[in-house]
Structures are given as C-alpha cells and as structure tokens.
C-alpha cells in the first residue's frame, strides 16, 4: 500500500483536495459504476389495459359523484344520500331512543357521562336514581326546561352537592323541541338499566306551557313540593291555564299560541 499522498501537509488543516494525483485521490469515484443509462423494454400490454380501465373508472366516478360541479352541492349523491332501508316494522321506541341518544351524547354527557354515571362534583348520576326512575316524569321535564340548583338527595340517602355551577336550562341546547326533550328523557329513563316509562312530546308540552315564562332554575325542595302526578294537567285546570296565559305579555302570548296551534 502507498504512503499517504500528502503526508507533507501539516495535520489539522482542512484538506481541500489539492493533490496532484487525481486518480489516487478520487478512488471512490474511480471505482464507481458508470453513470446510469436507460434500457428500452417496451411497455407491457397489461399496463396499457390497466391504464384504460383506470381512466374509464375515473371518468365514470367523476360524472356520477360530482354534484354537477355546483358550489352548493355537498353530497356526492346529487339528490341526497339514500337513507338505509330498514327491514320489517320500525320499533318506535328504538327510534325515539336513538334520537334521544344523539342529543344526550351531544349535550348531557359532558357532565352526566355517556353511561349516565354522573361525575363527582359536577353532576349527579342518572342511573339507579329515584328522581329519574319516578313513575311521573314531570320533575325531570322541569329540570331540563329550566335547570336545577341546590343540594339534591338521591334515593333518599345520597346527598349530592353541585359545586360551582348549577345545571343550566337545556331545552334549547338539546334541540328546542318537545319531541327532542321527550326523546332524551325516554333515552335516560330506559337506558343503562333504568326501566321507567318513556315520555311523550305531549306530556312535555303540557308541562312547558304550564310553567309559562319561568327563567330561574328549580331547586329540589321546590320540585318536591309540587304535587305528584305532574302538577301540570292535574294542578292547572283549563281555566287556570287561561288565566295564566292572560297574565303574559302580548308577544310571549303570541309565540305560545303559535306553539300551541302546531
């Protein structure tokens, strides 16, 4: 083997390659294979056929799912996605519960948990609770309509304290309709082991109208003081209801009547 080529050069100086014997210095380049070239194998017919198939598919897909290239068409199915066809008779309770679940998961679950177990210091449980499973659902309707504040006793034994905020009114939050509220309560009362009766939109409507323009949240004490059996249809005769409606400001009366006529 040869001696280092430029051993005369002092150590520690960056070698800039100023060496006369190029062949020795660039041994890495010298031993390289030649620069790449191209071969000229012809294209396989299979590839050409494959490309033709792909282009045909692409054209068809583009025509079928482009919503006429309109800015306001967001569904690739021009007339809306076909809804899945359900086989056999539809179970009305299951449909109601599904609606309820959507609203519950979206709004209520943040505090009450997706399995209704509640969260310490945030919101009480909905599973295995006498408030939820009561024969009469009117108190639940009121809680969702107007909110709830203050300590609450569950199953007569567990005292639950909402720390900080109370439960806000959630009627608008879950969708702002009686049917939605009924669906949510039905979902809560029939899920996770709860076996109470479902709630109908009509029941909700009666209680909502009876409550009028209440803005403040309920307290558990207040709710317990209301007569069992609803305190709505039972507590208010039609005359009383009329009286109550008359006492309302005109614009609110208008909207209530509009609501009633639906």
């Amino acid at each position: 083997m040869k001696q280092p080529l430029d051993s005369h050069r002092p150590l520690g100086v960056l070698d800039q390659g100023e060496i006369n014997d190029v062949t020795e210095l660039h041994s890495a380049v010298i031993r390289e294979k030649p620069e790449p070239r191209e071969g000229f194998e012809p294209l396989s017919l299979w590839i050409v056929a494959g490309i033709a198939v792909l282009l045909f598919w692409g054209g068809s897909y583009l025509t079928a799912y482009s919503g006429r290239f309109e800015a306001g068409e967001f569904s690739e199915f021009q007339h809306g996605r076909p809804l899945p066809v359900t086989e056999g008779p539809v179970d009305p309770l299951a449909a109601l519960k599904r609606e309820g679940m959507i609203a519950y998961n979206g709004v209520c679950a943040a505090c009450h948990n997706e399995d209704g177990a509640g969260k310490t210091g945030v919101a009480p449980q909905l599973v295995n609770s006498d408030w939820v499973n009561a024969e009469d659902a009117s108190r639940l309707v009121r809680i969702v309509l107007h909110g709830l504040t203050g300590p609450i006793k569950i199953n007569a034994t567990t005292e639950f304290n909402m720390v900080g905020a109370a439960m806000p009114a959630q009627y608008d939050g879950i969708g702002g309709t009686d049917a939605k509220l009924a669906a949510v309560l039905t979902y809560i009362r029939t899920s996770w082991g709860n076996t109470a009766k479902g709630v109908t939109a009509d029941e909700v409507k009666v209680i909502r109208l009876a409550a009028g323009v209440r803005t403040e949240a309920w307290t558990p004490v207040e709710l317990l003081a209301l007569p069992v059996g609803g305190g709505a249809s039972a507590a208010l005769s039609s005359d009383q209801l009329k009286e109550k409606l008359k006492a309302l400001p005109a614009d609110q009366l208008q909207s209530l009547l509009k609501e009633l006529s639906k």
Binding site: V22, P36, L43
Partner: protein, 497 residues
Amino acid sequence: MNSTTASKALKALLPGDFSNETGRRAHLAEIDASCRVPVLFFFLSGLLWLLIGTLFALLASIKLHTPEFLAGQEWLTFGRVRTVHLNTVVYGFASQTAIAVAIWLMCRLCRVPLIASGVITVANLFYNIGLTVGIIGIFAGDSTGIEWLEIPKYATPIIFVSYALIAVWMIIIFRLRTERHLYVSQWYLLAAVLWFPWIYGTAQVMLLVEPVRGVVQAAINWWFAHNVLGLWFTPIGLAAIYYFIPKVIGRPIHSYYLSVLGFWSLALFYNWNGMHHLVGGPLPAWMITVSIVASVMMLIPVFAVAINHHFTLVGHFGKLKHSPTLRFIVFGAVSYTLTSLQGVLSALRSFSEVSHFTHHTVAHAHLGMYAFFGMVMFGSMYYILPRITQREWPSNRLISVHFWASALGIILYVVPLSLAGFQQGRLMNNAAVKFLDVVQFTLPWLQLRTLAGCLLALAHLAFVVHVGWLLLRMLEPYRKPVLNILTGGEIPATTEK
C-alpha cells in the same frame, strides 16, 4: 450565452479528456469537489434539525399517552411541540437534505461543476436563519394554525427567497448542461425545483399575506400540503432512486417508456390529490370527487415506477448486503410503493369514513415521509458524503446500527399504528362506544409508538456520530481506504458506451 457555447467554454476550463472513461471519471470528481461546501452545509444543518426534530417527536409522543408530562410550561404544550417536530423534520431535515441531494445530482447529471457555489451556501445560511426564527415563533405561539404551513409569516419570506435562489441556480446548471440526453432523474429534479416555489408562493400569498375567506383556505391548505409531498419530496426522492439503483448495481434502468409514463402521469395527477384530506368535509362534492379520482389514478405512476425499479434490480438483490446506499434506497423504494397504495386506499370514501381523523393517517404520513423519503435521503448521503469529503465511512458497524434501528423502528411505528388507527376509527364510528373508551383503546399503541421513536432516535444518533467521525477524518491527511466497504473496491470492468 446559449448553452452550447457555455458548455464549450466550460469544457475548455475543465481538465481531463472526455473521450475515455478515466477522463470522464476525473470530471465527475471535479464536479463532486465543486459541490462540496454547499452540499455539506445543507447535509449538516439538515442533520442538526433532524436531531432537534427527533427530540420533539419523542416529547410529543410521550405527551400523547402521558398528558401531564411537562404540561406546566406553555412553550412545551403538546400543540406546540408537535408543530415544532413537524416543521423541523419537514423544512429542516427533509427539505435541506433534499436540496443537497438535488444540487449534487443535478450537477452530476448535467456534467457541470457547480458555479458560484457560494450563492448556495449563502442561501443555506438564510434558510437556516428563517427556519430558526420560524421555530422560535411557533414556540412563542405565533404558529399560523395552518397545517404544514405553521411557520409564521415573518419567517416564511426568508425561506422562500432561499428556495427561489436555489431554484434559479438549479435552472442555470440545467441550462449549462454538457450532456445532451436528459436522464429521468433530471426530469424529476427540474420539476421539483419549479413546482415547489410555485406552491409555496401561492400558499403564502393566499393564506398568510392576504388570507382568502372561509373554506377556500382549507382547499389551498391541502392543495399545498399534499403537493409538498407530491411535488417536492416525491420527485426528489424518485430522482435519487432512479439514479442510485442503476448506479450502484451498474445496469441500465429497465424501461425508458415506463420512466416517461411514470413521470408524466405523476405530473398530471399528483397535484390534484389534496382534497382527499377533506373527505366528508365542508367542500363541494366535486372537489372531493376530483381528488379521489386523481388519487386512484396515482396507481399508474406508482406501478410504473415500482415495475421499473423492480426489473432493474431483479437478480442483483445480493448487492443489498454490501452497499448501504442500495439498502436504504431499496427500503425507501419499497416504502414508496406501499405508502402510495395506502394513500390510494385512504382516499376512497368508504375507507376514509373509518381511517380519517385517526392515527392511521399519522402512520401513513410517517410511512411516506420517513420510510420512503427519509430512508432514500440517508441512502443518498451514504453515497454522496464520501465523494464530496474524499474520505471513506469509518465504521461498518455504525452503518448497521443506523440501518437496522431505523428500519425496525419505522416498521414498529407504522404497522401497529396503522392497524390500531383503523380500529380506533371503527370504534369512533360506533356511537355506542364511549369516546373516552376510544381514547383508552389507543393508549398502549401510543406507548408502543414511543418505543419505536426511541429506536429511530438511536438510529439518528448513530448516523450523526458517524458523519461527525467522517468529518474528523478531513482534518487528517488523506489515506487510501484500507477496507472498501462500499463495493468491495473493484474498479468496474465495463465502461460506459
């Protein structure tokens, strides 16, 4: 000055006789030497950013399964650490090594030494200043909030000017070429340097300088972000693969026609892919559909390239054992095929319904950016660094550590996370499963990802130590290599016709 007179003038300046192989080799060596400083600068700053990017990758990965980890410091919160990771590896490591490889390849293939290489070195300096300012900006909370374009708008112009300068220089080199035939790698390189400033400029003007209104932002965002991969990294990665496979094994590329087909179909379809990141999103159906079709059409260039590379390589797999360059490059080429197929699948509406918004996409991104592009860059560096430093790699063992740690690391990253991500998507699409249960399901897989990340970090450390060792050898006088680890030291018997 037209290119013929220029090339004549250059030829007159250059030593060597072009009529024989030795003369051509000496010319190559001359070209390598002309690239030395700027290419070395880009490689070294790229590797420094790789180390920084790896550190923040690990922090982000740990934070995703242990949220309290370093949570007290605002600048170390997940949303910033992750962003820093992405921008350091994409714009620091990947782009800078891509520029280095592109410059070296362009000069070699055009048979022109790099003229006024100081300009590229200055561009490197500005690039790194811009990037450093940008990264500090992200830590300080100035991220633009636009994915893949987070670097604040006071830093991007500096980076853009550096890119533009490099692009201009590459085009000058291309114009001065003395080799009349354009090899396939040159097509990709020229395309990449023209495409990138265009998409980067458009994105900066329409998203940062004068932001457009509403979801058009999202459209431009993903047009840009996908094109960073498709029109910048992919062409340079493919250029390197197209160069190094035939170079190392010493046989021509299988089919010129496949090369042409692969290049033009990529050019035609890749830039229409972006909206498949928004399937189900608030864009008109036609935009999504167009991108899905273009994504499926990507099967054409992907298969053209894969077939071309496979038939070039077939019968020479034994060389993988001896050439670190070939080993990394082939790993990258295989990953390119895999990541492209996964990409086509993910673009379909039915698959995207499950895989969108999950770790499946994260795994896919790493398969593309690391297993394909990163590995190809490593392979290129193993070839280029000895030539521009005129020193041999000191340690066979460190090369093995680098290869196996990065290969196993990225496999351990991508495979489990792709599958777990898909399952995560299935659970998420079942409203009966509580969301927190979906989160809990991903935890062990995220921990495994941290482990894979540690392997990758080990690989990077081994490589950086090795490069440092190689550079230390520049301080010593030149010695002819004792052991030639690259090709067994044989001087090729065949000469180029």
